[in-house]
């Protein structure tokens, strides 16, 4: 209630929006990190072997990354800030308090990255070879540096370890930054970045004329950029899973026996796909550009890149899902309820009354609005949409108002609540919960609601009763 909640449309909530922006941004950012290493390393090889054609190719290749990093990378990065501050201002505030130094450093390093990249691109012909190479190394270092800093913040949200936050203004830094998930995550992201750089170089090199030696050389060379992933990605993945909290891992296996809704089975399915795609991309690179460069085409490179885009997006999505029901693990739930507040009610977890404090009485943004609508906006919308992604209309179909009400009451049962690993607790007085049940019932069964009310226009009603 301290902040306004932004409901984009019945079919689109903040988490869908941020998902789209984030997947786009992560793909670009990792590609940029990988390219930041790929370009100077390849330049070094080209200069050592005295290959003019390869240097020419690299110059052409650089131009794309100037556009990618400075335009799409920067814009989507700002886009993330814009979206998270609108979608989850409470979590954003808490994270800024803790990580303002890391974010400041990330900005500074990004500035170095962009600057060195621009010098690197425009200096291909004008600069002395050794200076150009040095600028290339600076570019590589700063590209890795931005990953180094953002990785601490991202992993903290899932694996805070001993450094879980207790207050919104908790500012302890180093233990939080180097949290248990930091190491494996950094390795995995770096490997993915190198693989993406290789895949993208494959895509560009596939267009070179078939007769040229450079094409064959580049295809087989770029394919080898996936080699570190072949060897280390599995180990990194296991290490990563080892640091993930036990409850989250249990949720991971919930989809083996059934694919139904009402549990996190979809996460099992997505993680399976991530594993399968990782291996199949490796094999495709093997049988495609590495063993058979002549028959490799841009079209096939596109298929590879598409698979890589999918696996990156799916991996990020699974990571976000693993964190549920928290937005910042052990501190803040996705609906903005603080875990500390919850614990503050004494032996509260067994005592259901802890959840029955008033949610709306604090005033703030949604004061004076229909209680049900306000509850919905503040406590459901962070994860659910009405009609599309995690659609409440689908999940609650077949339940009348009484059934919805009893479901909501269950979310207030503390340890008895079977959904406590998936959904955050519901805070609200019995009246507030009843109002939410009524509101949801109206939204889920618009025709029925309209018929009983004699109102021909089914739609959200926000007037206070």
């Amino acid at each position: 209630m301290s902040f306004p909640v932004w409901q984009v449309s019945p079919a689109l909530n903040g988490s869908v929006l941020i998902g789209v922006v984030a997947v786009f941004h992560v793909f670009i950012a990792l590609l940029a990190v990988g390219a930041g290493i790929f370009l100077p390393v390849t330049e070094y090889i080209a200069r050592k072997q005295g290959r003019q054609d390869l240097l020419e190719f690299l110059r052409y290749h650089t131009r794309f990354f100037v556009v990618l990093t400075s335009v799409f990378g920067a814009v989507s990065g700002i886009g993330i800030w814009f979206t998270i501050s609108l979608v989850h201002p409470a979590a954003t505030t808490a994270l800024i308090h803790k990580f303002v130094f890391a974010w400041g450093m990330e900005y500074a390093i990004f500035l170095v990255e962009i600057t060195s990249l621009i010098f690197y691109y425009y200096g291909w012909e004008k600069m002395d070879a050794s200076v150009h190479q040095k600028i290339g190394w600076i570019y590589a270092g700063s590209a890795f540096g931005s990953l180094f800093f953002i990785n601490g913040i991202l992993t903290y949200m899932l694996t805070p370890g001993q450094a879980a936050m207790t207050t919104v203004t908790d500012a302890s830094f180093f233990q939080s930054f180097f949290n248990p998930g930091y190491g494996p995550s950094l390795i995995m992201r770096l490997l993915v970045a190198l693989s993406l750089a290789g895949l993208f170089a494959l895509f560009v090199a596939a267009k070179l004329p078939h007769e040229s030696d450079l094409r064959t050389w580049l295809l087989r060379y770029s394919a080898q950029w996936l080699l570190p992933s072949y060897v280390l990605l599995g180990i990194g993945g296991l290490w990563y899973l080892w640091t993930v909290p036990q409850e989250s891992l249990q949720a991971l296996t919930s989809g083996i026996a059934s694919a139904g809704v009402g549990n996190l089975s979809v996460m099992t399915r997505v993680v399976m796909l991530v594993g399968l795609f990782t291996v199949s991309i490796s094999l495709m690179v093997f049988f495609g550009p590495y063993l058979n460069p002549t028959e490799f085409s841009r079209w096939k490179a596109g298929g590879l890149l598409l698979s890589a885009l999918f696996v990156t997006g799916a991996g990020e999505w699974a990571r976000e899902m693993l964190r549920k029901p928290y937005v910042i693990r052990d501190f803040m739930y996705v609906n903005g309820v603080l875990a500390a507040t919850e614990k503050g009610f004494g032996p509260a977890l067994e005592d259901a009354s802890a959840y029955r404090q008033s949610f709306l009485s604090g005033g703030g943004w949604d004061a004076g609005q229909d209680a049900g609508a306000a509850m919905f906006k503040n406590q459901c919308l962070a994860c659910h949409t009405l009609t599309s992604y995690r659609s409440l209309r689908e999940y609650l179909a077949g339940r009348d108002e009484a059934a919805i009400h009893s479901f909501l009451q269950m979310l207030q049962m503390g340890k008895e609540n079977p959904y406590r690993r998936i959904m955050p607790p519901l805070i609200g007085t019995p009246e507030e919960v009843k109002a939410l049940a009524h509101f949801l019932s109206e939204q889920v069964h618009p025709q029925a609601a309209a018929a009983t009310a004699g109102d021909p226009s089914p739609g959200p009603r926000t007037a206070a009763r």
């Binding site: 064959t216 080699l227 072949y230 060897v231 599995g234 083996i256 026996a257 059934s258 139904g260 009402g262 549990n263 399976m272 594993g275 399968l276 291996v279 199949s280 490796s282 094999l283 093997f286 063993l291 058979n292 460069p293 002549t294 077949g398 339940r399 059934a403 009893s406 479901f407 009451q409 269950m410 049962m413 008895e416 609540n417 079977p418 959904y419």
Partner: protein, 154 residues
């Protein structure tokens, strides 16, 4: 038509051995991606399957219940639950929770049918879902008391 170079690394280079080894490993991993679900699939057993559809059973045990007690029974291949509320009042349901199909139980002190899996609660007389995730009431069965015995029907 032009000649094509034979793809693949030049023979006998040390890298070739490594690459071959990697290729073997990757192929094994990919095969593992198939084998794991297949083995789990085949290992899943099920003793609960039965053939014929049952529409009526005789359940003499039911008469021995004291008021407030319940007894589980097999209705064909499916589990059922019989609850005696008073001398003359019985109710029976298919005992599969309507949420994800776990078998429910009866808790006399609370006067509720409960599901241990995800905390579903049902009214023991009507079978109506009163709390928890179940989307629908339990499917009821008819109870008929004959002399000395008890019949349960669809």
């Amino acid at each position: 038509m032009n000649e094509n170079p034979k793809p693949g690394p030049t023979p006998a280079s040390p890298r070739r051995g490594f690459i071959q080894w990697l290729l073997g490993g990757l192929t094994a991993l990919y095969a593992g991606c198939f084998a794991y679900p297949m083995i789990r699939f085949l290992r899943s057993g099920g003793a609960e399957e039965g053939g014929e559809k049952v529409t009526q059973i005789t359940f003499g045990e039911g008469m021995k219940l004291k008021p407030g007690e319940f007894r589980m029974f097999k209705f064909g291949s499916k589990p059922g639950i019989l609850i005696r509320h008073s001398e003359a009042e019985f109710s029976a349901f298919y005992a599969s929770c309507t949420h994800l199909g776990c078998t429910v139980s009866y808790s006399h002190p609370d006067r509720l049918i409960t599901c241990a899996c995800h905390g579903g609660r049902y009214d023991p007389v009507s079978g109506k879902n009163v709390a928890g995730p179940p989307p629908k009431p339990l499917t009821p069965l008819k109870v008929e008391i004959a002399t000395e015995t008890l019949m349960i029907k669809v």
